[in-house]
């Protein structure tokens, strides 16, 4: 489902060019879950952003479902709309839209909105009573549940999650994590999750560790 081949990424800093990813290769099969761990600043989020086409590698190749992700902004945007679901640590819901509109937004954008599927997601995520509320009226756990529903609404083949429970207390985090894993399994998507928690990483099928820009 996801293939990363010899990825390089560096960025400029006041001390010169800093290498973030140094020849990273990785593959993730469909219906599998993979935890990406590493210390702060090790490049976990950068790798996830490259996978989502939010940023471009300096060198190397990224393929999703056997197709290389595009080179242009428009191609990568199209990939994100239809194939990839994103879950962020900061939730990053759209503040101007209510829960129902947030849930449906990406699916409608990609033309894959399915009312029945959204109803199932709403029920599974226990969001039925919150549909008319706005993000600022929700707790962190509720916001993250909406973000998960949004990521799954278009039935993407690949879910990319960046510290999805990082902003939640342990009990809420565990509940959100259980929901995420259950729904990913139900949709048959692959999941790549960035986390610094060994406990959460152990819940996934496989785990890789990033250190000094290389995978261990």
């Amino acid at each position: 489902m996801l293939s990363l081949i010899d990825l390089y990424k560096s960025h400029a800093s006041s001390e010169g060019q800093v290498t973030v990813l140094d020849g990273v290769s990785l593959s993730l099969e469909a219906r599998k879950t993979l935890a990406l761990t590493g210390e702060s600043g090790s490049g976990k989020s950068t790798l996830l952003h490259l996978c989502a086409g939010l940023d471009a590698p300096d060198a190397g190749r990224i393929e999703i479902a056997g197709r290389p992700i595009g080179r242009t902004d428009a191609e990568r945007a199209a990939l994100r709309r239809g194939t990839v679901g994103l879950v962020f640590q900061q939730f990053n819901l759209i503040p101007s839209m209510d829960v129902a509109a947030n849930l449906a937004f990406q699916a409608r954008l990609s033309g894959r909105h399915d009312l029945q599927w959204q109803a199932i997601l709403t029920e599974a995520l226990d969001l039925g009573s919150l549909l008319t509320r706005f993000p600022e009226q929700l707790s962190g756990g509720q916001q993250q549940r909406v973000a998960i529903g949004r990521a799954l609404a278009a039935r993407p083949k690949l879910i990319l999650a960046d510290e999805p429970t990082g902003n939640l207390d342990e009990a809420s985090g565990d509940r959100v994590m259980a929901l995420l894993l259950r729904l990913v399994a139900e949709t048959g998507a692959a999941l790549l999750m960035v986390t610094h928690s060994p406990r959460l990483a152990a819940l996934l099928d496989r785990r890789v560790h990033l250190r000094g820009g290389r995978l261990e």
Binding site: H11, S45, H49, A52, L54, D55, A56, D73, A74, A77, A78, L79, R80, R81, G82, L86, F88, Q89, Q90, N92, L93, I94, P95, S96, M97, A101, A104, F105, Q106, R108, L109, S110, H113, E136, D162
Partner: protein, 753 residues
């Protein structure tokens, strides 16, 4: 000191924001001080005129003809009279009102300053405000357009007959003479409404400028909220922090204020010639076109800048004062607070509009300005909630997810943009309102002047003998209709012959049946301003007679009545010095034959009148454009500052599959859509403004009620202009978004902002 440097470091990092704050305040101050400077200059001219030409207000004796012998006879009989010869003359290439006086018989204090011997001896001195290309000319502290000389010099230029005799003691008129009291109108009173109008524009522009300042200060406070909390946590008291911020704002106010005063000086310098033309055209008030730099400007300019900053920052300072040191940082709390305030604002707006409607029942110019203020401020306060409603409707009517997001996101931005949008609304409404008023005025005025100028030529002499010779010379080659006018007790009194030409030229707004017959029978006509001033209707009685008709008299600040020529001659035995000629004899031929007679043809008078009219409103047009410019700058300031604050709202949409270019395009469309919405709201508001100007302010200020005319093409042009201004204002923020580095957007997801 360390605290202050920490605060100032913000501005070093946000140079564009600092620039906008200074430019916004400088512009606001500039427009305000510019207008103040113009008003001050004009008022000082009035004072100069009042002190230099006191004889203008003295009672005078008039007769059909006054010769030197008549004057000498009166003096011998012990009459305290002083002769004056007055008329229009070309001196040194300039057309001036030449006044010839006899200094020795003028009462003490009325004679010109300086050595009387200078005035009387030699070739005679001609005093004037500006240098003249004439050997006799000397500069003096006189109003522009006036030349003062000894009566002997004036007789040489204008002819020997005496125009009138000033009566220097309170006595009844001797036999054969009439006593008249010329206009007692004080120029500064007469022009008060004009200056009030100009001052109102100055305050409007200042208010619009303050929108920028408020926006920039509010944003800077919001951006530094974290820093404030840190400083408080590190031991800085709320009082000390507030004082530091006040010191910072004071520095900004003084720098921007100084810039603003300098800019205001330039603006006043550019606008003053047009204002002078306006005042001359409307009131016959002569105002020099040179500016005097007054220390009081600098002080008042700096004062208003400081006041403006304190006013703009008061809300932010109050919030800071009450900020607990350990309160969690709330990004966009400022915007959310504004959103909560939206409903309160709308309520205040509705109350202001109701108050303005109530004020319509109250007479007086100040009530009229109250209506204007209530209308503008009320409309502006209602705008945000109105736009929120419209965007809500847009969202509900949209089927597409992106379109729904577009409207929802536009609504989300309203609190941050509302001040700039209010500024744009005020600028557009003022443009539409004033434009419609001027257009309506222009249409009515040109139709009226075409009608009023019915004769072919208009001739005027200082000596009646010249005109008698002219009529002989014409020898039946045309019709000559005498025109006579004097001023009595502050009212212009016109004598008119009943001739088809004048019947056509003096249309009546309201009249009794057969009004011209009534005029011949001893009734009177009054101009619209006098009728408005005294609440007169046809059939009402005045001292001079029964009102048979009311006529429009645009451009005349004075109340006026018309009597039949016979009655006028009986009441005021004046020489006939003006005639309207219906003739085919060319003006140049008459000028060549009678060089002392001033000859003007219809086209020249019309052209001059229309030019005065156009110049009258050139100032208004310039202020309109400046206000629109300031509003565009306010939009630019808001968009630019919001562009970085908005990244958390834009980044998720980008992450979900919209390109930066598309997002930037939507931002651009949003700005244009908001501009169109505001233009739509500004139309009825501007028309209401025009109605208030025409039906309330003009009637109160000038006594003219003008019909409201519609100018859709002008509104469309303004719409296009505002779209262009909005596009220019949005260009940089939109370009920034289109080219933003993905890493900057990614920071939103990594909590690194």
């Amino acid at each position: 000191m360390i605290g202050l440097s920490a605060l100032l470091s913000h501005w070093m990092r946000h140079k564009v924001q600092a620039l906008l704050l200074v430019v916004g305040l400088a512009l606001a101050t500039a427009l305000w001080t510019g207008v103040q400077a113009i008003n001050a200059e004009a008022r000082s001219s009035y004072d100069r005129a009042a002190s230099a030409l006191t004889q203008d207000r003295m009672p005078r004796l008039v007769a059909e003809r006054i010769t030197l012998a008549d004057y000498v006879a009166l003096r011998r009989e012990g009459w305290p009279v002083s002769p004056v010869i007055e008329g229009t003359a070309d001196i040194g290439g300039q057309s001036l009102r030449l006044i010839g006086i006899e200094p020795l018989t003028l009462p003490k204090g009325e004679a010109p300053t300086g050595d009387p011997a200078d005035f009387l001896t030699g070739g005679g001195v001609i005093l004037s405000a500006t240098p003249l290309d004439d050997l006799r000319a000397r500069e003096a502290d006189l109003p522009p357009g006036i030349a003062l000389t000894d009566i002997g010099v004036a007789a040489g230029i204008l002819g020997p007959d005496i125009s009138y005799l000033l009566l220097t003691e309170d006595r009844p008129a001797p036999e054969g003479y009439s006593l008249i009291h010329p206009a007692t109108t004080d120029l500064s009173q007469l022009t008060e409404s004009f200056h009030l109008n100009l001052a109102a524009f100055g305050y409007l522009a200042f208010g619009v400028g303050l929108f920028i300042v408020h926006s920039a200060i509010g944003l800077a406070f919001e951006q530094r909220r974290g820093m404030f909390q840190t400083l408080r946590a590190l031991g800085l008291s709320a009082r000390a922090l507030t004082m530091l911020l006040l010191a910072e704002l004071l520095v900004v106010a003084l720098v921007a204020g100084a810039l603003g005063v300098a800019l205001g000086w330039l603006i006043a310098g550019v606008l003053l010639p047009d204002v002078a033309a306006t005042l001359r055209g409307l009131y016959g008030a002569d105002v020099g076109s040179g500016l005097t730099l007054r220390p009081v400007w600098w002080l008042s300019g700096l004062g208003i800048a400081v006041l403006g900053v304190l006013l703009s920052a008061s809300q932010s300072l109050w919030q800071l004062w009450r900020l607990p040191p350990l309160a969690p940082a709330q990004p966009r709390a400022w915007a959310r607070a504004s959103a909560r305030a939206m409903q309160g604002q709308a309520l205040a707006g509705v109350m202001l509009l109701c108050g303005a409607s109530g004020l319509l029942m109250v007479p007086g110019l100040w009530a009229g300005f109250g209506v204007l203020g209530g209308l503008l401020l009320g409309g502006a306060l209602i705008l945000p909630i109105l736009l929120a409603g419209l965007t809500h409707l847009g969202q509900r009517l949209s089927r597409d997810a992106l379109a729904q997001w577009f409207w929802a996101d536009t609504r989300q931005q309203l609190p941050g943009l509302s001040l700039a949008l209010m500024a744009l609304l005020l600028a557009l409404a003022a443009n539409i309102g004033v434009g419609t008023m001027v257009g309506s005025f222009r249409g009515t005025f040109t139709a009226w002047i075409d009608q009023r100028l019915a004769a072919d030529l208009y001739v005027e002499a200082a000596d009646e003998g010249d005109l008698i010779r002219l009529l002989d010379w014409l020898d039946g080659r045309g019709t000559a209709l005498p025109m006579i006018q004097t001023a009595d007790d502050g009212i212009e009194v016109v004598g008119m012959v009943d001739h088809p030409l004048f019947r056509k030229a003096w249309p009546l707004l309201r009249a009794v049946p057969d009004p011209w017959v009534r005029l011949d029978a001893g009734d009177i006509f009054v101009n619209e301003q006098l009728a408005a001033q005294r609440g007169l209707s046809p059939g009402d009685r005045m001292d001079q007679g029964i009102v048979a008709g009311i006529y429009p008299d645009y451009g005349n600040p004075m109340p006026q009545i018309i009597l039949s020529m016979a009655r006028h001659r009986a009441l005021y035995p004046l020489p006939l010095l003006r005639y309207a000629l219906i003739t085919e004899v060319p003006a140049d031929e008459i000028r060549a034959a009678f060089p002392r007679i001033a000859v003007q043809n219809r086209a020249a008078i019309r052209e001059a009148s229309v030019e005065v009219f156009e110049r009258t409103f050139a100032v208004t047009g310039a202020l309109n454009v400046l206000t629109l410019g300031v509003a565009s700058l306010a939009i630019f300031a808001s968009l630019l500052t919001l562009s970085s604050l908005r990244l958390p709202q834009v980044a998720p949409v980008w992450a979900m599959g919209l390109t930066r270019g598309r997002l930037a395009g939507l931002e651009f469309v949003r700005t244009l859509a908001l501009t169109v919405l505001i233009w739509v709201v500004a139309l009825p508001m501007g028309l209401a403004l025009a109605w208030v100007l025409l039906a309330v302010i003009n009637v109160e200020a000038f006594g003219w009620r003008l019909p409201l005319q519609m100018f859709p093409s002008d509104w469309a042009r303004l719409g296009v202009l505002s779209l262009v201004a909005a596009a220019v204002a949005a260009a940089l923020p939109v370009r920034r978004l289109a080219r933003i580095a993905p890493t900057d957007l990614l920071k939103v997801f990594s909590n690194e902002r």
